[in-house]
Symmetry: C2
Subunit: 238 residues, 2 copies
DNA sequence: CAGTGGTCTAGACCACTCG
DNA sequence: GAGTGGTCTAGACCACTGT
């Protein structure tokens, strides 16, 4: 049976603080009620109050300093949850067909410069390189140029990338990624334009992503999406 | 400093589960140890185990079903923290100078169509409209075309936007945003190209953002950044 | 020193799912 | 009914910051 609003006690406390913050009841940086005060006010145990405030802290709405108190956070940043998904899954969920056109799968010798450093490899060692064009119902959606650290994915070259995307395979081999990315608008290279079937001057969304797993660099990828065909969407809540 | 010592008990449990997931010890979707088992294994109380698993759940690493158990999450999405910041702050932190060129500040009558609906306003009512070009050290970095719901920011038109950015002002008036955004690559309008001092064919990063505060639509903005001058960067951790 | 948050315990009751 | 997670309590000890 559902009562009207039988929310958990910790949720009550959390809601109280959250709406207070939304109404500007505690200015950014100012001191908020202590746990002891909230215990008194809501007649709950300290563990309950603690959980409420800890979750607000995790959401970035308050800052806590041991021995000092809890403070309203500066609301100058709103954190968002940007979901990076496997392209195959994404296309399938739209009810469309995904096809990968594998242009290149090979081992190369890594030359000096940024790439060796970014993959944590000594100059002259092997690196795996793939170049794949992804289609959604025969429309080119992405040109994926990727380098992979062989030590963490030794079987990478033998994967059938018409059936599994590199993202998917690498997630399975090395879960729990950390990644840095940059997103910018630019023009494709001549080769990319040709592969995507667009003009070299057409604007593209270019994502460069570098991922690590447990401190080891895994892969560096340059993802080029035709601007007219691809959009990143998302939302964020405080 | 020292990161050696065995941290909190709940952190031990959390680390155990997290590394196990990273090593593929529990396949995605498979059943993980119950709270009772972890209580036994680590000789801690159930509250402690509960906290560890709950935090993993918040991080999206596990899924829990009451009455059933805890399951390793499908690693098909990695959540990222994309930080939307006030442009003035961002530029200042780079040690540069921010200047806003206010092209337009006026009230308009909202016509039928998407805008009225997206701002939750009846057709024919007033809406505030600003068009501002932002410069970093005299280089045009952003053309900001923004519509604002007057009911939540009645003083919007009297703000001096050469001193305060709209983002900044709206954050103060209506904190705790929720927003939906889309990011794409495209070309600017003729007017935008002129204001930014670029060619109409130059690729731009175009962000369309709609924000709400406590369920009320606040503002809809179209942010056009020259692709050659602006990049979104970020990182995500599992 | 008094006050704050950080953590922990050993129980408890509940709602839920499944066989 | 057995097992699961969801929540809660009334204490407790600790580490830290301020005066």
């Amino acid at each position: 049976m559902n009562y009207a609003r039988p929310t958990a006690a910790y949720a009550h406390v959390k809601l109280f603080l959250k709406t207070g913050l939304a109404e500007g009841r505690w200015a950014p940086g100012s001191l908020m009620p202590s746990e002891a005060e909230l215990v008194e006010q809501f007649s709950v145990s300290r563990m309950t109050v603690s959980r409420a405030v800890r979750e607000l802290q995790a959401e970035g709405l308050v800052e806590r300093v041991q021995g000092v108190g809890t403070f309203a956070a500066q609301p100058y940043r709103a954190s968002s949850t940007l979901t990076i998904r496997d392209l195959h899954t994404e296309i399938s969920e739209r009810g469309h067909r995904h096809r990968a056109d594998v242009q290149l799968v090979q081992a190369e010798t890594v030359a000096a410069g940024g790439l060796a450093q970014r993959l944590g490899l000594p100059v002259g060692s092997d690196v795996f390189h793939t170049l794949i064009v992804h289609y959604e119902d025969d429309v080119a959606l992405l040109c994926e140029d990727r380098y992979v650290n062989p030590s963490r994915a030794p079987d990478y070259l033998s994967v059938d990338f018409t059936k599994t995307t590199p993202t998917n395979y690498l997630l399975a081999v090395a879960p729990l990624w950390e990644a840095q990315y940059s997103i910018e608008a630019g023009t494709p290279t001549v080769q990319e334009a040709q592969l995507l079937g667009i003009e070299p001057a057409d604007p593209c969304l270019i994502i460069v992503r570098r991922t690590e797993s447990q401190g080891t660099p895994i892969t560096v990828a340059r993802l080029v999406h035709p601007g007219s065909r691809y959009t990143i969407e998302g939302s964020f809540k405080p």
